[in-house]
């Protein structure tokens, strides 16, 4: 186990290193000067521009910038471009070109918003998806199966902004059951937090549940045809128990992998939902930073997303080997 973890951690570091290098390279291959954007489009003087470039470290060669960035993550770094000297403590991802805020702080601000959105949504879409999938499998070919399949596929093929808009119109405009959502921290008022997030959760679930319904249905049908299910029927276990204990366990185990990865990729993949419901999450941050050529923020978000995916992959493997003893970690 220790050996396995060591292997995974080393692998993860390599992946993140390559990822950050690629982001740096792509960034410099793109046209546009971030200093120009900071300085302003028209009023900017040449010397002013140069000062900003020096301050941001843009005058240095790319490999040196990258090196400083790496050192900053491990040991922190000190900026001394202008008259004042700023020290940025250890996991230092630099400062936003645009706002001057530390990137680490920006990420930490946005992370709870994104987590609230996707974890809550994930619970709903997996629960609904799995329940419908099991139901479809047990009533295969019957009306319930067709309706469940039809509904989830319809949801899956509808754009999230359309679903979200409809939800807003119905629940906030016509019925007025809910306030127009914004973000409320869980730690401040859990009820308000949930009230504000329920619509985005539902919107995400409508779009995402279909995958789980289809997978669960297929996997359940496969498991039901296996020999050990016949064994337990032949030994008089009630159908409820055959399905609830033995079939479900076999049917859901394969979902571990897809579920974990799904959760990880959603972290920065819910930009549309975030904008629609006014949630300042990581997806929005990523999009705006790309638009503003804000390299430190782009790299920061990308690395965070990458790290989460790498960790989720490892977690999926470990969970799988716990759920299915035949699978050994290697």
């Amino acid at each position: 186990m220790a050996r396995y973890l060591l292997k995974r951690v080393l692998g993860a570091l390599v992946v993140l290193l390559v990822l950050s290098a690629v982001v740096y390279l792509i960034f410099y291959a793109l046209p546009g000067n971030p200093a120009q954007l900071v300085c302003g489009p028209k009023t900017c003087q040449a010397d002013q521009l140069h000062r900003i470039e020096v301050g941001l470290g843009l005058d240095q060669p790319i490999w040196l910038q990258y090196w400083h960035f790496l050192v900053g993550i491990v040991a922190g770094r000190t900026y001394s471009g202008g008259p004042e000297v700023i020290h940025c403590a250890a996991p230092c991802l630099g400062y936003s070109y645009q706002t001057g805020e530390p990137v680490t702080g920006l990420l930490l601000d946005r992370l709870p918003v994104s987590l609230s959105l996707i974890v809550g949504g994930f619970v709903i879409w997996v629960t609904v998806g799995v329940a419908l999938g099991v139901l479809s499998a047990l009533r295969r070919g019957r009306a319930v199966d067709r309706i469940a399949t039809g509904l989830t596929l319809a949801g899956n093929s509808t754009p999230v902004f359309l679903v979200g808009l409809l939800l807003l119109i119905v629940f906030c405009v016509y019925l007025r059951w809910l306030p127009f959502p914004g973000y409320q921290a869980l730690t401040v008022n859990p009820l308000l937090w949930a009230q504000n997030l329920i619509l985005p959760w539902v919107a995400l679930s409508v779009v995402s549940a279909a995958v789980y319904t289809r997978l669960t249905r297929t996997s359940m049908l496969e498991t039901l045809s296996e020999d050990h299910i016949r064994t337990f029927r032949a030994y008089g276990l009630p159908e409820r128990r055959v399905i609830g204990r033995h079939a479900l366990r076999g049917a859901l185990t394969p979902l571990i992998t897809i579920g974990t990865i799904d959760l990880a990729t959603s972290l920065t993949g819910t930009t549309l939902t975030e904008s629609l419901f006014g949630l300042p999450g990581l997806g929005q941050l990523l999009v705006s930073s790309v638009r503003n050529i804000d390299l430190p923020v782009v790299v920061g978000v990308t690395l965070l997303a990458g790290a989460v995916i790498v960790v989720a992959n490892a977690a999926a493997d470990v969970l799988y080997s716990v759920a299915d003893r035949r699978v050994a970690l290697a």
């Binding site: 064994t231 032949a234 276990l237």
Partner: protein
């Protein structure tokens, strides 16, 4: 007394004389097929009945019907089935459910998949026991350990916590039998309980069933295609063909003096380990001159992989085998699963590159030849595979499959290809006009004939057959073996015949090689190996083969018991 009072009926005096199973005019119809047609039989308490038949005879469908397991599958069951006082065909699902596992328990064919891989073996047995007895968790666990111990799982208390994949095939079948025993049933239904097992393990499981029957007094219904398995295990036998019972009687009488022609055919088709070969067509003088010479060949597979390169752990599938395949002979290779016989076969035709030693074909070491230089030898080295279903591409016509080796040889003349393939199809006993048919349109035996045609179409000198008949019914098996014997004589082939079935190997081979744990244990003339085996392992292997004579079977069983007691 109406149905469903099973638990009340168990143990009362009236049940002693009434049969534990009574089937009257049973018919089972699947959409489009009548699997069982007007079957009637009875089984007395404590008695043992064997149902034999080839695939499609309806024997398994009958076994499943006894526990009402066709419910909800689209099969139509009519007639009357009474098991231990419960009329299964009329009872409510709840009544049938109470019967299952408690009064009548079932053991299935494939022990590999019959247990839930996600739960420990002990917990699965305990679950069934608690369900039927309402015992506490603690008591159920003890019972699980008790029955596991009873069926001969060593260190049962610890092994109960293990998962099915940590058990060997034989142990899994024992565990399933333990589950069946947990509630002390009055009837045990065993559906091909040993078909998936090695011959020595098969003997152990059959001995166990025999012993348990003597100890617990439960009745046994044994369903199998193997007449040898029947001979030593049951009192009465019922022979099924096309869903009907064609003959029923005491096992000794039916096997010694069968009355129905189908039973006679079935018996005639069974390869006899106790009879010398009959199929050899005018034994040709085989020279000791070798066509293939294996010198200390080995095949090491990596076992797991480490973080750092170098010092890899390996498992030797074939661990230094030296043997000659003589020109024109048929060399039988026998061994249990994991003995390395298939790996050895694959190295002979260079489907696998040996990791050590030499494979000389006609004087040239082909073991390490690069593919380019191997090409000229390919036409001489052919293989017939075990599973005739998966060895043919289901999306291509059988004619195209047989033509593949010709195209691979660079032949482009379509007329010539088609003529050659048609010729081969008829030589292996198929209608050449079925060139454009697909594999699923053929039966198992016909598919194996197609596989043979494909192997022979380029006139090879060496044909290695890996378990060519193990997936076939006995009568089909006999036909395919006969075909191979004819072709061998006609084409001057050298054959290597790999199989786990010692009786089949005896019927076809001039010499026999016995493999065990990747090593060659014994190699001699077929007659010598079977009548005067030199090695202990060979003797064990031969002693484990079921025989058709019930008296002899009992004798063998006693011998095995004595061996166990001694060792």
């Amino acid at each position: 007394m109406s149905t469903g009072k099973t638990s009340a009926a168990v143990g009362t005096e009236s049940t002693v004389d009434t049969p534990v199973v009574s089937v009257a005019d049973l018919s089972i119809e699947f959409p489009g097929v009548r699997a069982v047609d007007g079957l009637s039989f009875e089984l007395a308490p404590g008695a043992a009945l064997g149902i034999v038949g080839e695939s499609g005879s309806g024997k398994s469908a009958t076994a499943l019907a006894l526990l009402g397991l066709h419910h909800g599958t689209g099969a139509r069951v009519s007639g009357r089935i009474t098991v231990a006082g419960t009329e299964v065909t009329a009872a409510t699902p709840e009544q049938v459910r109470r019967l299952r596992g408690a009064t009548a328990a079932m053991v299935f064919q494939d022990p590999m998949s019959a247990l839930d891989p996600y739960f420990s073996v002990g917990s699965q047995i305990a679950e069934v026991y608690r369900l039927h007895t309402g015992a506490t968790k603690q008591a159920a666990r003890s019972r699980a350990i008790e029955v596991l111990d009873h069926v001969g799982i060593p260190d049962a208390a610890r092994r109960a916590g293990d998962f099915p994949h940590q058990f060997s095939g034989g142990q899994r079948q024992r565990a399933l039998i333990a589950m069946a025993l947990a509630c002390e049933p009055r009837l045990l239904i065993a559906d091909e309980p040993t078909t998936a097992l090695d011959v020595t393990v098969q003997a152990q499981i059959l001995d166990l069933l025999h012993q348990l029957r003597a100890e617990t007094g439960m009745a046994l219904l044994l369903v199998t295609h193997d007449l040898g398995v029947i001979a030593g295990t049951v009192d009465d036998v019922l022979v099924m063909q096309h869903g009907r019972s064609v003959e029923r009687g005491p096992v000794g009488r039916v096997l010694a003096a069968p009355e129905h022609p189908y039973t006679r055919d079935l018996l005639a088709a069974v390869p006899r380990i106790d009879a010398p070969r009959q199929l050899s067509l005018a034994d040709r003088p085989t020279t000791p001159d070798p066509l293939v010479r294996l010198v200390d060949v080995r095949q090491d597979f990596p076992a797991g992989h480490g973080l750092l390169p170098g010092r890899r752990r390996t498992v030797a599938a074939v661990d230094g085998v030296t043997l000659d395949v003589r020109r024109g002979e048929t060399l039988g290779v026998v061994g249990e699963s994991g003995s390395g016989k298939t790996t050895l076969a694959r190295m002979m035709v260079r489907l696998l590159r040996p990791t050590g030693g030499r494979v000389e074909f006609d004087g040239t070491d082909i073991g390490q030849l690069p593919d380019r230089r191997l090409a000229p030898y390919r036409r001489d080295l052919q293989m017939v595979f075990q599973d005739p279903i998966s060895a043919l591409n289901p999306r291509r016509t059988v004619g195209e499959s047989v033509a593949d080796p010709l195209r691979a040889a660079g032949i482009r003349d379509e007329r010539r290809i088609r003529d050659t393939v048609r010729d081969w199809l008829s030589r292996v006993g198929l209608d050449p006009d079925r060139y454009d048919a697909y594999p699923h349109e053929f039966s198992g035996g016909q598919r194996q004939r197609i596989g043979i045609a494909r192997a022979l179409v380029r006139s090879p000198r060496l044909v290695v057959c890996d378990e060519p008949v193990s997936a076939l019914d006995v009568s089909t098996q006999a036909q395919v073996i006969e075909l191979l014997a004819e072709l061998r004589a006609e084409l001057d082939l050298t054959l290597v015949f790999v199989a786990h079935d010692l009786a089949v190997v005896r019927q076809v081979s001039d010499r026999v090689a016995v493999m065990h744990h990747g090593r060659l244990v014994e190699l001699a003339d077929a007659e010598t190996v079977y009548t005067d085996p030199q090695q202990t392992y060979t003797r064990e292997l031969i002693a484990a083969v079921p025989v058709l004579d019930p008296a002899l079977a009992a004798e063998r069983r006693a011998e095995r018991a004595a061996l166990r007691a001694a060792g």
